[in-house]
């Protein structure tokens, strides 16, 4: 396993499958009465958040705590950063305090890359979203969610399975994923295109042309301006949050026009295959890119994605920091845990 997680593009298929499989193990911990492992006891994880993101921060916090790490939350607001401290000096401070891993969310694309390559800190760097660049743990939790629903049962049966364990060891070969919305500004889309392609899925991006970056033709995916044309062939449809403010920069004329052309409502959802799922990284703009009917439907995995996010972040921290020790110590007291040991990857 690599030392840092900066970009989904850095992950090989085997890396990605290992993370997903490890996350399956972690998910089983969440089913226990005591949701905690001693794996990272004595290690320090710093959540360094230059942007407000309560959802992502508490997900990483829960993940680190379930692995028994000490967690320090460093928010730029109200800290020395807001008084003009540089990223370098903040990093040197965290290094001096003995951070084993720094989970960084930053408004500037490339900031985690700088942190990992500048020599300012020795610990692992986890990108929790940088500018409009990448958000690799989001892509991993999305892939994890898709794999559970779409990768097929171990017996090669139906593609629509729920419950832990489904798909372990598998990728997303041949699955068709449609990502809809503000591709231009989306770090979620960038990470997903890389990761899903690595896992064998076929990705189609759908957006008005104004929200597709110049240069997208070199991405390993298709681009469509017509949502209705691709729905019937989608195994998963991921709706991205579209900021209403984009309207003011003339990316689209009005909210209503956006919702009409690119929003997912019940009518459109009905055109998706029976087994297909609707995904959303949250927070949702109900009425904009997704209607309440779709958001609250059985097919929408938004809440499940949040749960899976903790498992993925546990797996990421464990693999980056824990190294070679088993994630879950063998405790042959219960059959469930014995099974865990058997399925664990070496």
């Amino acid at each position: 396993m690599k030392r840092h997680l900066i970009s989904a593009a850095d992950l090989t298929r085997d890396d990605a499958v290992l993370i997903l499989d490890t996350a399956e193990e972690m998910a089983r911990v969440a089913d226990r009465p005591i949701k905690k492992l001693p794996t990272l006891r004595g290690r320090t994880v710093v959540n360094l958040f230059f942007e407000d993101s309560t959802r992502t921060r508490i997900s990483f916090e829960a993940a680190a705590k379930r692995l028994s790490a000490d967690v320090i939350n460093f928010s730029a607001k109200g800290s020395s950063v807001s008084k003009g401290e540089s990223l370098k000096d903040t990093a040197l401070t965290l290094e001096a305090m003995g951070a084993d891993a720094v989970v960084i969310r930053h408004h500037s694309s490339g900031a985690p890359h700088r942190l990992a390559t500048s020599g300012w800190i020795k610990g692992s760097v986890v990108n929790a979203g940088d500018g409009t660049h990448e958000h690799p743990t989001q892509a991993l939790l999305d892939a994890f969610t898709m794999r559970r629903h779409l990768a097929g049962a171990p017996d090669g049966g139906s593609t629509h399975h729920r419950g832990p364990g489904d798909g372990t060891g598998r990728d997303l070969a041949g699955r068709k994923v449609t990502i809809v919305g503000d591709i231009l500004h989306s770090r979620v889309a960038r990470s997903n295109v890389h990761l899903l392609t690595t896992l064998g899925a076929e990705v189609t991006l759908v957006a008005p042309p104004t929200l597709v970056p110049i240069g997208v033709e070199r991405w390993p995916c298709e681009v469509s301006y017509d949502l209705d044309a691709v729905l019937a062939a989608s195994d998963a449809v991921m709706m991205l949050r579209v900021q209403r403010e984009r309207m003011n920069a003339a990316f689209f004329p009005t909210e209503r026009e956006y919702a009409r052309r690119y929003g997912l409502d019940g009518h459109r959802m009905a055109r998706m295959p029976e087994h297909a799922i609707v995904m959303h990284p949250g927070p949702m703009n109900r009425g904009m890119e997704i209607t309440a009917e779709v958001a609250d439907s059985r097919r929408c995995t938004a809440v499940e994605q949040v749960t899976n996010g903790v498992s993925i972040r546990m797996a990421t921290l464990y693999l980056l920091l824990g190294g070679n020790e088993p994630a879950i110590a063998p405790t042959p007291a219960t059959p469930a845990e014995a099974r865990t040991e058997e399925t664990r990857k070496p």
């Binding site: 500037s108 490339g110 900031a111 500018g131 960038r190 070199r218």
Partner: protein, 431 residues
């Protein structure tokens, strides 16, 4: 500074041609010929070296007054001398802005005191570089600094009426407006060239059209009012086409290219290392090749460094927070040898033309960009073209170290620079 009155350069290839001896007497070239002798002269064995007219830079940021932490007129002119320059044009975006006779005279005076290189101040086009109100262009021209080139560099004169008026107004004293071509609305939040790499990196795009649309407008404006416009740091293949078209019409348009745009591409930004952050941004391989071709065929008139010193902390940070710009004076000639001479695109006479004759002519400098002949001012640069060395900013004369060429092997080394007969650089070292 060496005060030797007579210097004999023995066996130098004059502008890359035949070997000859060149005798410098006082501030003047006394003789050029074979087997020259001179009693009491300092003799320099220049066999195998290229003798060029002292280089002229149309685009230098000396940072003084205001940002003496990154460069001063003294350190900047020292860097210029090391790079083989005998004259530099100091850009107006200082603090305070060089938009009055007082500030341009201050910069001019500091240049005179430095003694390493002539400093010709550039005046701002508009007050405070704000693009709203014309600065006192006439007063700057009439000052001791005799300003001829006017530029809001760093900012584009984007208001078409202000640009038109500036172009018209400077005709009264044969001035030229040097435009930083950047349509501001198309470049809001711009961090790098807009294209394949920016799409992947998620960095705000600086599209080629933002440069090209302004150049297209300005060559038309210059033609309409029959004035002359100079395009700063042209960076795209499309810009080349527009300038080529304008020149074919006989319009008075000149253009410059920086050394870094002749060699580096936006692929380097993948490192997120802010040393590659510059404005205009590094473009694509196709742009680089078009720029080289245009410099070779004369569509682009000259190489200008856009030497932009920044303190370490302004580059030792994340990309978004970093300052734009690169130092260039001390590596320019090596980059031009590497990209233009060693590739066969330009001979040394071409280098002399693009780095001395034409920039001096655009800036209407007298005493620089002159032929190497008896009776001419002894502003000269001696280059060892066989040298190969790795760029190490630790040894720079500039106060700043933000070079994108660090660690790169480049050819050529300036061994001597003479400013009006006085050696400012001897054996590659400042005197």
């Amino acid at each position: 500074m060496s005060e030797t009155t007579k210097t004999l350069l023995r066996g130098a290839r004059v502008i890359g041609g035949e070997s000859a001896d060149v005798l410098i007497d006082g501030a003047t070239i006394a003789a050029v010929g074979q087997g020259l002798t001179a009693e009491g002269a300092t003799v320099i064995d220049a066999a195998g070296q290229i003798l060029l007219p002292g280089l002229v830079d149309l685009h230098t940021h000396l940072r003084e007054p205001g940002r003496e932490d990154s460069e001063t007129v003294l350190t900047g002119t020292q860097a210029a001398a090391v790079g083989g320059y005998t004259a530099v044009h100091a850009m107006a975006n200082t603090f305070p802005v060089a938009d009055t006779a007082g500030v341009v005279e201050q910069v001019w005076r500091l240049g005179r005191e430095s003694g390493y290189c002539d400093v010709q101040p550039i005046g701002a086009v508009t007050v405070g570089l704000e693009g709203k109100k014309l600065a006192e262009l006439g007063a700057m021209h009439d000052s001791a600094a005799s300003v001829v080139v006017f530029s809001d560099d760093g900012k584009c004169v984007d208001d078409a009426v202000i640009m038109r008026r500036a172009l018209e107004y400077v005709k009264a004293f044969d001035g030229v407006v040097a435009q930083h071509a950047q349509e501001p609305r198309l470049t809001e939040g711009a961090q790098m060239n807009e294209g394949v790499v920016s799409a992947e990196l998620g960095l705000g795009g600086w599209p080629a059209v933002a440069e090209e649309s302004i150049i297209a407008r300005d060559v038309l404006l210059a033609a309409h009012v029959d004035s002359r416009v100079h395009i700063c740091h042209l960076s795209t293949a499309g810009s080349v086409e527009i300038v080529r078209w304008a020149k074919s019409k006989g319009w008075n348009v000149t253009a410059e290219v920086t050394p870094h745009h002749l060699l580096l591409t936006d692929e380097l930004v993948r490192s997120y290392n802010p040393v590659y952050k510059v404005n205009p941004p590094l473009r694509t391989e196709a742009d680089v090749m078009a720029l080289r071709e245009a410099l070779a065929d004369g569509t682009i008139d000259c190489v200008a460094t856009d030497h932009a010193p920044h303190p370490h902390e302004d580059k030792d940070c994340e990309w978004g927070a970093a300052a734009m710009g690169m130092v260039g004076l001390e590596t320019a000639l090596s980059v031009v040898q590497h990209t233009m001479v060693d590739t066969g695109l330009l001979d040394w006479a071409g280098v002399a033309d693009r780095m001395a004759f034409r920039p001096a002519a655009i800036g209407r400098l007298t005493g620089h960009g002159r032929p190497i002949a008896a009776g001419e001012p002894a502003n000269l640069t001696l280059l060892d073209p066989t040298y190969r060395g790795v760029v190490s900013p630790a040894g720079f004369a500039s106060r700043s170290r933000n070079t994108p060429f660090e660690g790169r092997e480049l050819p050529g080394r300036v061994t001597h620079t003479f400013l009006r007969g006085r050696a400012t650089v001897v054996d590659g070292k400042l005197t």
